[in-house]
Amino acid sequence: MRILVVAALLVAAPLAAAPTPEAVTVKVNGLVCDFCARSIEAMMKKRGDVAGVHVDLDKGEVHLRLKADAKLDDPTLTKLIVDSGYSVTGIERKPL
């Protein structure tokens, strides 16, 4: 029994620590124009850890799909959005 428990822990531990991909919603002010919002897509595509970008002009939100090994923290993300020409009002993350 003890061997089974140890074996289960050995198998489960790496799985629990394995990075999971994230969905990030960035709430943005000034997001009114598709032509200009292309800057966000251009900036995000420079990063290898962003798998997908979508902009919701109606809600003023940027939706990102991050890869499992992404290292895109909130300050870096905020800087990318600000460099794209917009102001960040909130960031929400959830695992995919």
Binding site: G30, C33, C36, L57, D83, Y86
Partner: protein, 208 residues
């Protein structure tokens, strides 16, 4: 609303009609304008979100002289609001001016541009002061009021309709009202219009 009023005031005192003359960091933009007063092409690079640097060719169609040189555009300030955005830009260009068969002389312009927009309404204004040795000094102002018939989503083709007025002190027909339609899709923007005297307005912007 305050910013809309400020943009309108800026327009009245003084614009081209370029959408966002500063792009994203690392972005390259090609802008072209044609109307009865002038023809212009600008290729610029944006090193950071405040500045773009490039080269412009400008032909004054009625005055029959040309200007070519380097241009810098500074995004002085951007106001990002919930559901709206406003911008103030200042630009300067320096280079050589010439007419057919004449020696090139120093020339350039300074320009201020302001805009305010939400998803359905846009106000833009621009004022430019151009000087070229041997050709004198002219001032030009453009004002635009735009309306989008629908609020397109991300990735849709977007349509805007503009009422425009442009005045050029060097032009015989001093104020030229025009109706301009703008269509843009992703990073391509095309404008076509007509002035009150049947002159063609044709502008485009391509971002890379």
């Amino acid at each position: 609303m305050r910013f809309a009023f400020a943009a309108l005031c800026a327009a009245l005192v003084a614009t081209p009609v370029a959408a966002r003359p500063v792009s994203w960091p690392g972005g390259v933009t090609l802008m072209q304008e044609l109307d009865p007063i002038m023809a212009s092409a600008l290729l610029h690079y944006t090193p950071n979100r405040h500045i773009s640097l490039g080269g412009r060719y400008l032909r004054m169609r009625e005055e029959r002289w040309q200007l070519s040189g380097a241009q810098a555009t500074w995004l002085v300030n951007r106001w990002n609001m919930p559901g709206a955005q406003a911008n103030l830009y200042v630009a300067g260009m320096a280079g050589a001016a010439w007419a057919d068969g004449r020696t090139a002389r120093p020339g350039g312009f300074v320009e201020a541009q302001a805009d305010w927009e939400n998803r359905r309404v846009m106000v833009m204004g621009m004022a430019r002061l151009t000087h070229a040795q041997g050709f004198g000094t002219t001032d030009m102002q453009t004002v635009r009021l735009g309306w989008a018939p629908y609020a397109g989503g991300y990735g849709d083709a977007h349509l805007w309709l503009f009422a425009q007025a442009r005045r050029d002190s060097g032009s015989r027909d001093e104020v030229q009202p025009a109706f301009v339609a703008r269509l843009f899709y992703r990073t391509m923007l095309l404008e076509a219009g007509v002035t009150d005297r049947g002159g063609l307005v044709l502008n485009s912007i391509f971002r890379f």
